[in-house]
């Protein structure tokens, strides 16, 4: 049975969470991993990313490229 959007979103979230602080993932990195691991398609991955961002579980960040990360305090922001 094909993985649902929710399954893919949860799997993506776990990868990003495990990598937090050591590795950053681009949306295309996560998509490639999901296509390989869950045998899902790019359209489902796109919907999963949208769900993760719209729900606030992940945020887009930009530091030398766009990445998906767990929301955290901006390092450059004043206290």
């Amino acid at each position: 049975m094909a993985a649902s959007i929710e399954d893919v979103a949860n799997a993506m979230f776990e990868i990003v969470k495990d990598g937090a602080g050591s590795k950053k993932y681009k949306p295309s990195d996560l998509t490639k991993m999901m296509v390989e691991k869950l045998e899902t398609d790019k359209k489902t991955c796109k919907a999963a990313i949208k769900e993760l961002v719209n729900s606030g579980r992940l945020v887009y960040t930009y530091f030398g490229g766009s990445f998906l990360e767990i929301p955290h305090k901006e390092g450059a922001a004043p206290d």
């Binding site: 681009k26 295309s28 887009y60 960040t61 930009y62 766009s66 922001a77 004043p78």
Partner: protein, 400 residues
Amino acid sequence: MADEKATPLLDELEKGPYPSFVREIKLAAKNNKMAAGVLHQLEKSYRDKIGYWKHGGIVGVMGYGGGVIGRYSALPDDFPEVAHFHTLRVNQPAGWFYTADVLRKICDMWDKHGSGLTNMHGSTGDMVLLGTRTEELESVFGELTKMGFDLGGSGSDVRTPSCCVGPARCEWACFDTLKTCYEITQHYQDELHRPAFPYKYKFKFAGCANDCVAAIARSDMSFIGTWKDDIQQDDEEIKNYAKAGLDIQSDVVENCPGKCMTWDPDNMKLTIDNSYCLKCMHCINVLPKALRPGKQRGVTILLGAKAPIVEGALLSSVLIPFYDIDNEGLDDLFELVEDGIWDVWTENGKNRERVGEFIQRVGMGNFLESIGLEPDPHMISHPRDNPYIFFDQEDEEEEA
């Protein structure tokens, strides 16, 4: 004790005959503390020869990955007014047509929620609202949305598409740049707001080869208006130009890059060999009452330009020599872009590698093969160049 509010170095930039951004910031600073903060931090930067802005990379509005560029002061204790100074890119209307009423509303909103400072417009084409705090971002976004505006692109996404004024104001437009720009903007909303590429991807639409939006030099995918048939010619008007003193031989014929014209001064007759015309627009620009683009109009679609940021500048190369975009629509192009170009580039491009750089790395022949586009001898880097496609002997034999 030195006057902390004095800005002697910035004041120098008000002394020339040219418009001065310092003068404008000072005007804004009379009513806005953030604008005053910018002025004083900038004066310190000029004095110390150090930039005091820090890059922010997380701030944005809910659900979007682009449109907000985070900036913080590196000296928030000295300049608390600009401790946060985020920029918003706002998707401009196609061709930059506004009503005075909507501009007043935007400025009033920005005085209330931001520094009051704007850049009309950024180099990609967006309306740029300079300087606000993190907690104001959602309010600004909400008010913009109420006015019918949306944020533009930033980061590794489709950047805000932009076009020249096209048929709205220009008689040379060979296609409806405004309509095409609008339709592409609407179609790629997801790609515009949710960065999913190796790097930015810009669309620009120019109605003719005058290329008022510099599409050929600044956009990953350029749409430039052109025509297939003969230049429309009014011989009587050409005579009027000559009688008025225009040196047609020197100013028109000798400047033609295709050398496709001859001028008979005795009979005041300009002859154009249209088969050699490069559609550069030079003669039409010099003789606007006498010459016009042909009637069979469309676009040339090019790929791969970029301004110098990470690597050097690149100009576009021809991808589709002629496309009747006003009649054939965009569906085939969407398929080529999404299932061809973006698929291959996203799969194989390196982080921060523009599509033009990617093509340089893998080779245009390989790239065309991977996106499934048939090679065409009209695919050239410059007019009258040899095509960059190499046809295999085997293919030629098969064709024969």
